[in-house]
Symmetry: C2
Subunit: 330 residues, 2 copies
């Protein structure tokens, strides 16, 4: 055999081995349908050496909604479940609550009555449970709750209620040089204590709603005290504002599940170069929940129309995902 | 020669060669005094493998003030010079300005008269020049200005008025796994267009003061419009608030030059594990400016007392820096 033949043979052997060696599928929980294909196609366009649409590494910004996009949001936003649990825990320190709405109804187990007060009642509930302590104290409360509280219908920890296919998608994007951000209507200090462990997203890449804080000196130490006053609502048109405020550049990929994410997807789509917008559509009443245009939580109506009109990717949870949660049997 | 001797000899040879091979001094513009030594000592404590005080890589957060810490701030904040230049540029579109203060005085070259109106006049000046356009438009204006405007006394571009020793310090920290942030009272959208090029600090690592923005759709495209309303003042007690809002963890090292940085240094110092706080003291009337306790710009009074009391590093620009600006002859 000539030396050249040897080289050719070695190359062929390498080719034959390569698929097996590289076979680890980065998206094993995704069925091989249009949604998955559109994701892979986008990542290759944006990152493959020699691609005419290559996005430089520091421009690879991907933003994800949280509630309903990375973890579930039924039968109520998990942060609301946290607030309700905190009312019970804090009740002994509030002798006035048994005669004061919305706390009185809540403590009697009447959630409907408690929330009958609408936005105002919800605001009182959030402020009573989220303000009045330091940022460090609040972090400890969240860490304790998230480690033990269970979802009311599945009995799983809330951090188990994350979508396995989306975890794979986050990792796949990061493996291709993307910086992954959360851009959520949820409270930023409610998310940061656990997003790194659960999603691999560090605190500085979490953007969310916030209440005002103020610097005080207590016992000679500076502390940040959480005030009962809204600072920023990171929802709807607030999402592009929050992105510009914290990141200062436009994302190239955006992932959401509701009309509250629409402006974030539009903002992302309006940039130049390759763009990717994806909606998670909750179609699986068996493994998760099925809801869209008429839902009070996570309504997806205008967003669905726009996704269809503009050819954005819409994930059909039932058809596109082999499993929803890691605890699902496949 | 025995095998063991060979090993010893090889090790000795490596030792003899190593200093030459590694000789590239990461801080060539720093004289070998207490300030430089304290920096190197801190970085080694925080990052050397086996150090009992090792800071894990994702905790290596270093925050820098900008005006007077990374670039000069005399004879006026450079962003104020930008605002003044913008008044001249925008005057043709404002026929009312020649009879309206503070614009009338300014357009007559009477800066003292213009600023006689104090905070209110300054606010009018900032809003007239920083609001009323989209974020993209403002970015273009900043990019054009910073590329051409010259400092009034040195005739250098403003981006040449950065401190060479601090550039080296930024690079040295990054080479040791630190993530470097700007935390400045200056406008965040005034800094972001050039901080990556000049300091190696990307937009998402710039925290600053801001005005409110709102999402609008113009010609079918979403844009963020800058409103004439303060959103956040990232100065004094605002600095720890801004750090917590955007980073969500406490820095381990903080660098400033004025009393407006004191709370940021205190906030940093109050964490556990190795900490580093440094004040740049403007002591060099010849190569830069000399000012501290009595200065209207960049006053360093309480901060200097606290630095001395707590043993923080104070850089004596005149004694500690071989050169101040890259354009200085050494």
């Amino acid at each position: 055999m000539k030396r050249q033949d040897l080289v050719v043979l070695a190359a062929l052997a390498a080719l034959a081995v390569a698929p097996a060696a590289c076979a680890a599928d980065p998206l094993p929980s995704w069925n091989d349908g249009a949604a998955r294909q559109s994701i892979v196609r986008f990542v290759e366009r944006a990152t493959k050496a020699g691609s005419p649409e290559l996005v430089p590494p520091d421009g690879r910004i991907a933003v994800f909604d949280n509630d309903g996009t990375l973890w579930a949001e039924q039968p109520m936003y998990f942060q609301l479940a946290f607030a309700l649990d905190r009312v019970t825990a804090l009740a002994p320190q509030h002798p006035e609550w048994p005669t004061q709405e919305p706390f009185a109804s809540l403590l009697n187990g009447d959630m409907k009555g408690a929330l009958a007060g609408g936005e105002r009642a919800l605001g009182q509930l959030m402020m009573a449970t989220h303000a009045g302590m330091t940022s460090d104290e609040f972090e400890n409360v969240v860490v304790d709750w998230i480690a033990t509280a269970k979802h009311p219908t599945t009995g799983q920890l809330y951090t188990e209620m994350v979508y396995q296919p989306m975890l794979e998608l986050l990792a796949y994007l990061r493996a291709n040089g993307f910086k992954t951000y959360i851009v959520s209507g949820g409270g930023v200090e409610f998310m940061r204590p656990w997003t790194e462990r659960v999603y691999g997203i560090p605190p500085e890449q979490v953007i969310g709603s916030s209440i005002k804080t103020t610097l005080e000196v207590r016992d000679g130490h500076p502390v940040l005290v959480r005030l009962p006053e809204i600072n920023f609502v990171d929802d709807g048109p607030g999402k592009p504002v929050g992105i510009q405020m914290q990141i200062g550049r436009r994302p190239v990929a955006a992932f959401g599940n509701s009309d509250g994410d629409l402006q974030m997807l539009q903002w992302t789509a309006a940039g130049s170069g390759p763009r990717f917008c994806l909606y998670v559509h909750h179609t699986d009443a068996e493994r998760e929940w099925a809801y869209d245009r008429a839902s009070a939580i996570g309504r997806l109506d205008k967003g669905l129309d726009e996704a269809n009109a503009r050819g954005w990717t819409v994930v059909d949870m039932k058809a596109d995902w082999k499993r929803v949660f890691a605890f699902d049997r496949q």
